[in-house]
């Protein structure tokens, strides 16, 4: 890609970007949210047309008319959100859009199966083509996506944040697959925020900031700090200095909590813990081990079947979200689009989503638009939400700025307990640094913090104590400052009660 420029009203998303990817190379594209990575890849994939510049394939300029054209030229994309049909088998998913026909009417499923098995073996992941995609883990679904691309004879494979939902072990496995692909002569473009991953997997790294290429690095000749600074444009503290914490009395006490999910399966199975004021309890665990349901039960969105949630001595089990909000609970949900924000509403309205009904934002039933707007102006300023105005719909902002709206709203109340579910998911290093600082500030102000994250590093860097959740149970609680990443990672993946972790847990609770 040479001199690619793409302008949208008011912004230059890509400003004369040059990017060259060689056969057999894993090329990482690194940049903050809204830096222009996605725009660039959309241009490559034919979803957008560049205003200037050209794309050369094998040295010849080409025009890519659309995704089907891109696929025909061997360019494939694995999106962050998988494009799979859960009720169909692996083979059927792969055949969708690239049907191998026995004749004009019928599919040739046998031939397709044979090719899928053969491709899987060649790249080191044997997969049963008849298994339903919905029953596969996220890591295997990703492999199905990659297989889909290989089945279409992809030469260039674009992966948009492929590790966002994976465990460390799964990430390693996917990396092994990618290395084999590269060894077989395929080109891989790897989009990520995660610096250590990029350093581990990439042959070359291109960093984009504000639509421009700001640097190209060789992973051997750089480090995380260098990349972060390049990406953000200033020095970034990758690991926030958490300082000492001074836990006081018990603020939240959860005892023997059992919770069912929407399908009636018990997914939280007798969880007990307590958090003191001025302390951060991290919950580590692979996504889908009951963390979401645990959090929902604590903040009142889901009724537990048994157990107690006691906040500052008051039994709040099964109380409404409104009751918990009033009692001083702040909550940052994992899915900000689904729970945290009303995207079509102005930023100012989103900033009062949980407090709109009370003074100063309402007098009786009448909203005080003046107060809501003032609050909006103030929060936008204080939390550095990058927007032309608080009247702009929240949905127009980048992910990091949207998350800042949720954080601003939930952190700016009188809090006793702060419940954070994946507070930095999908955010770039600059935004993560900002949010981590805010969390530490709240802890220092004496708030009890429950931090749930699938990002093990985040839990390790922030928490005073770490509870590892596996299949609905907290299998171990370890000291956050001395915990060993390997061991916690193994606990997350297997739930095995390691003696060392046990001992640390005892030490921590003693």
């Amino acid at each position: 890609m040479r001199g690619i420029t793409k302008r949208y009203p008011g912004v230059v998303a890509n400003d004369h970007i040059d990017l060259s990817v060689h056969p057999g190379e894993i090329h990482a594209l690194l940049g903050e949210n809204g830096a222009g990575k996605t725009t660039l890849m959309n241009i490559l994939y034919g979803l957008a047309r560049p205003d200037e510049g050209e794309i050369l394939l094998d040295g010849r300029p080409v025009t890519i008319a659309g995704p089907s054209d891109a696929i025909a030229r061997g360019i494939n994309m694995v999106h962050q959100h998988f494009m799979l049909v859960p009720v169909l088998s692996v083979a059927d998913n792969i055949l969708l859009g690239e049907e191998t026909m026995a004749n004009r009417v019928f599919l040739d499923r046998n031939e397709a199966r044979r090719r899928i098995i053969e491709l899987g073996q060649r790249f080191g992941f044997a997969i049963d083509p008849d298994v339903r995609v919905g029953s596969l883990s996220v890591g295997w679904q990703q492999r199905v996506e990659i297989l889909k691309a290989l089945y279409r004879n992809a030469r260039i494979l674009v992966l948009d944040e492929p590790t966002a939902a994976l465990t460390p072990a799964e990430t390693e496995e996917i990396f092994a697959v990618l290395r084999r692909l590269a060894a077989a002569g395929h080109s891989v473009i790897f989009i990520s925020h995660k610096l250590y991953e990029v350093l581990e997997i990439a042959d070359r790294i291109t960093v984009i900031r504000r639509g421009k290429v700001v640097g190209e690095r060789d992973p051997g000749a750089t480090n995380e700090d260098d990349l972060a600074e390049l990406m953000v444009g200033r020095e970034v503290q990758l690991v926030v200095d958490r300082g000492d914490s001074h836990p006081a009395g018990v603020e939240l006490q959860v005892s023997d909590l059992r919770v069912h999910d929407d399908r009636g399966t018990e997914v939280v199975r007798g969880v007990s813990f307590e958090i003191r004021a001025g302390e951060i309890l991290g919950i580590a665990g692979v996504a889908g081990n009951g963390q979401d349901e645990l959090v929902e039960a604590i903040i009142g969105l889901r009724k537990p079947t048994t157990g107690r949630v006691v906040l500052t001595g008051r039994d709040m089990t099964g109380r409404s979200p409104r009751a918990l909000t009033s009692a001083g609970v702040g909550y940052v949900p994992a899915d900000r689009h689904r729970f945290g924000l009303v995207l079509p509403f102005p930023i100012a309205d989103n900033l009062v989503l949980t407090t709109y009904y009370r003074s100063p934002f309402a007098h009786g039933v009448v909203r005080d638009d003046g107060a809501i707007e003032q609050n909006g102006e103030r929060m936008v300023h204080e939390f550095d939400i990058r927007t032309p105005s608080p009247t702009v719909p929240a949905g127009t902002l980048s992910g990091g700025n949207q998350q800042k709206i949720v954080v601003a709203r939930e952190f700016e109340r009188d809090l006793r307990l702060l419940v954070l579910d994946q507070p930095t998911r999908g955010l770039d290093v600059g935004s993560i640094e900002f949010i981590h600082r805010q969390i530490i500030a709240k802890r220092d102000a004496g708030v009890a913090v429950l931090l749930v994250s699938a990002e093990l590093d985040e839990v390790l860097e922030m928490s005073d104590r770490i509870g590892v959740m596996y299949r609905g149970e907290i299998v171990s609680i370890v000291d956050g400052r001395t915990a060993d990443k390997e061991k916690v990672g193994r606990l997350m993946a297997t739930g095995a009660q390691l003696e060392a972790a046990e001992a640390a847990g005892k030490a921590a609770s003693a």
Binding site: S320, P321, R322, R338, F345, R367, S389
Partner: protein
């Protein structure tokens, strides 16, 4: 100053483009519908016995349509009278859309509201006007509210979709009307089933020969509903539930309660529309109600993008077409059914925004109406609506 000036200018420009975005598509849809209607008129000439192509016929038709609606004071008043129930029922559908509810039952709530107003109006026909009118209007409104409450309640407790339940309740409403008017409410010895006159409960005439009190009620209600939606906490709850029921629940709102409240309010507005028609125009009821106000209201709300104030011009447009269609029929010999073609075509263009945008090369991908997600959800059957666990 150097910092604020470009920002405020940008905000002005944004506001201007937003206003243009809101108005442009409805207006363009209507213009395109007029073009399509003109083609229909042109082509239909060829089907007449000694058909010859008269190229100015569409213009004649639209001219008499316009003059029939706005030609003189009486025409204007007639237009306003036709507009009145469309405003109220349009508000009913619009507020439903805002809460993510597709109230197709406005027709049934309208019918039973009218019936309620007639029953009380007839009973109080000899009482002083103020008492009779107030009681009859309240009766119509409350009956409509009760009839809207039913689908709202069903949705809240069982997830029964309001599109299905309200369609069925429309049939029930027609049957109730027929049963009561040809039975207990029938004037004895009358050849056809019809109720007594509402007597003193009839609305006073404010302008012209037909311009009754309902005009004022409709105008006031548009502002009241706008105020409710955008200036009160309850309105914020309604809009939040409509835009994102999960976020509403998370924020401590009660989506099921809001669903029941909004459906009841929607029914109340449709019932009020019915009351205005019987108390202001017909003064009695027959065993069937020859009107499609409740269905036209859906078009009114869509064209107004569920904005209560925009319902006023939107309803006026439909009212004018209804009022002008008589003259068009007499003068230009165009059957009034053409109006339905115009309405339907305008809506098609409006709903098919992406097509329209591409044809007109307009930028951006803003949805045309705030009801679009509601309608999509209604037919798509995804379970994310409020009350669906």
């Amino acid at each position: 100053m150097t910092v604020t000036t470009p920002a405020s200018r940008g905000r002005l420009r944004a506001a201007a483009s937003q206003a243009w975005g809101a108005v442009a598509l409805p207006v363009l849809s209507i213009l395109l519908a007029l073009v399509v209607g003109g083609v229909v008129i042109l082509v239909s000439q060829l089907l007449e016995p000694n058909g010859s192509l008269n190229p100015i016929r569409p213009f004649e038709a639209y001219r008499s349509l316009f003059l029939g609606a706005f030609g003189n004071v009486d025409n204007v008043v007639e237009t306003l009278v036709q507009t009145t129930p469309l405003v109220l029922a349009g508000l009913a559908v619009a507020i439903g859309f805002r809460a993510g509810l597709f109230n197709i039952g406005a027709q049934g709530q309208f019918t039973l509201g009218a019936l309620g107003a007639v029953i009380v109006g007839v009973a109080l026909a000899d009482q002083p006007g103020f008492v009779a009118i107030t009681a009859a209007v309240l009766a119509g409104t409350l009956v409509g509210a009760a009839y809207g409450f039913i689908p709202g309640f069903l949705k809240a407790i069982s997830g029964a979709h309001e599109v299905v339940t309200t369609i069925m309740l429309n049939y029930v409403a027609n049957s109730i009307l027929a049963a009561l008017v040809s039975g207990p409410l029938k004037v004895p010895n009358s050849p056809s089933p019809v109720t007594r006159d509402v007597g003193n409960a009839a609305f006073p005439i404010l302008i012209g020969t037909d311009g009754h009190l309902g005009l004022l009620i409709a105008l006031v209600m548009a502002f009241v509903i706008w105020w409710l939606l955008f200036r009160t906490t309850r309105g914020f709850e309604i809009r939040t539930v409509g835009a994102n029921p999960d976020a509403a629940r998370y924020a401590g709102m009660r989506p099921k309660l809001i669903t029941v409240f909004t459906m009841s309010l929607s029914g109340a507005l449709a019932g009020l529309a019915g009351a205005c028609v019987v108390l202001g125009v017909t003064h009695k009821m027959q065993s069937s109600f020859a009107t499609s106000v409740g269905f036209d209201a859906i078009a009114v709300a869509l064209l107004a993008r569920s904005n209560p104030l925009a319902v006023l011009p939107s309803a006026l447009l439909f009212g004018a077409m209804r009022a002008g269609s008589n003259r068009m029929q007499v003068e230009a010999r165009i059957p009034p059914e053409l109006i339905n073609v115009l309405v339907a075509t305008a809506l098609l263009f409006l709903v098919a925004t992406p097509v329209l945008r591409r044809v007109l090369r307009m930028r951006g991908a803003r949805p045309v109406t705030d009801a679009t997600p509601t309608i999509a959800r209604s037919y798509g059957g995804s379970g994310s609506g409020p009350g669906v666990p």
